[in-house]
Amino acid sequence: MLMPTLTQKLANPTRFMELSGRVLPWLTCTACILLAVGLYMSARAPLDYQQGHAAKIMFVHVPSAWLSMFGYALVAISSFGLLVFRHPLADVSAKAAAPIGAVFTFTCLLTGSLWGKPMWGAFWVWDPRLTSVLILFFLYLGLIALRSSIEEETLAAKLAAILALVGIVMLPIIKFSVEWNSLHQPASVMRLGAPTIHPSLLWPLLVMAGAMTLMFLALHLKAMRNEVLRRRVKALRSYEVEADATLAGQPAE
């Protein structure tokens, strides 16, 4: 008999709840410790030779931007898992990741705007990078709205998954938008060749990115657990209605 893979093991929601219940406290603690270290390193980071102290906004803005795209990739991969492999937890993962991704996209736009004002002289410009991230934010809101507007869970999950897969086209657009006559600076860390950022600023950025990624994963795991519980409540309520109808001698609706 073949050994079950990790995804097969996690297909059972009860097993997922047991495992995630053990992992979540450790993940949260590690994220908090790393965040404290990252904030300390950010505070101690030297001045940027052009932007001065304002470059410190980078330590929250850039991880938020990375995670806004990571969150969408997670929604899309989970949606693929639902449509192709029909994995029981794929839809739970996609549904849980959407609001978290939306929040990180919102913080990316907000901190970018607060960085833009002192550097560019404006909170907002209709620049390719800024506009494409704003579209990503609306895409997240669209996914959340689509789900909540359809009562039947299975249909809502399939439609949201199709929209999520169509919307993945935004990720390369966001990535390459800085090369289209953009005011936004080009990639300085995730690029071909060595990062163009000095190590004294790169390390705090990487630690903050690591901390915020762990925070994202912890929030996602918690949201998935909540969703599993929500579905359990729904199932128990329907069993209760079924049992009451049987006792009353009527077929359950």
Partner: protein
């Protein structure tokens, strides 16, 4: 900590990020408690999932 002439923007960026993420975490914790309480209430009323029900014994 002296953050120069753009201190207000820097503090605002960090404060709003902290506030938004803390709000999200609090919402998830409260939602989790609510869902767990609902499961507990239903189970206390004797409602069980099909998987956790005792199968009927076979007649001898």
């Amino acid at each position: 900590m002296d953050l120069g002439p753009h201190a207000a923007f820097i503090w605002a960026a960090y404060a709003t990020t902290a506030l938004v993420l803390a709000g999200l975490a609090a919402w998830l914790v409260l939602d989790g408690r609510r869902q767990q309480r609902l499961v507990d209430e239903l189970e206390a009323r004797g409602v069980r999932r099909r998987s956790s029900r005792t199968p009927p014994s076979r007649p001898q």
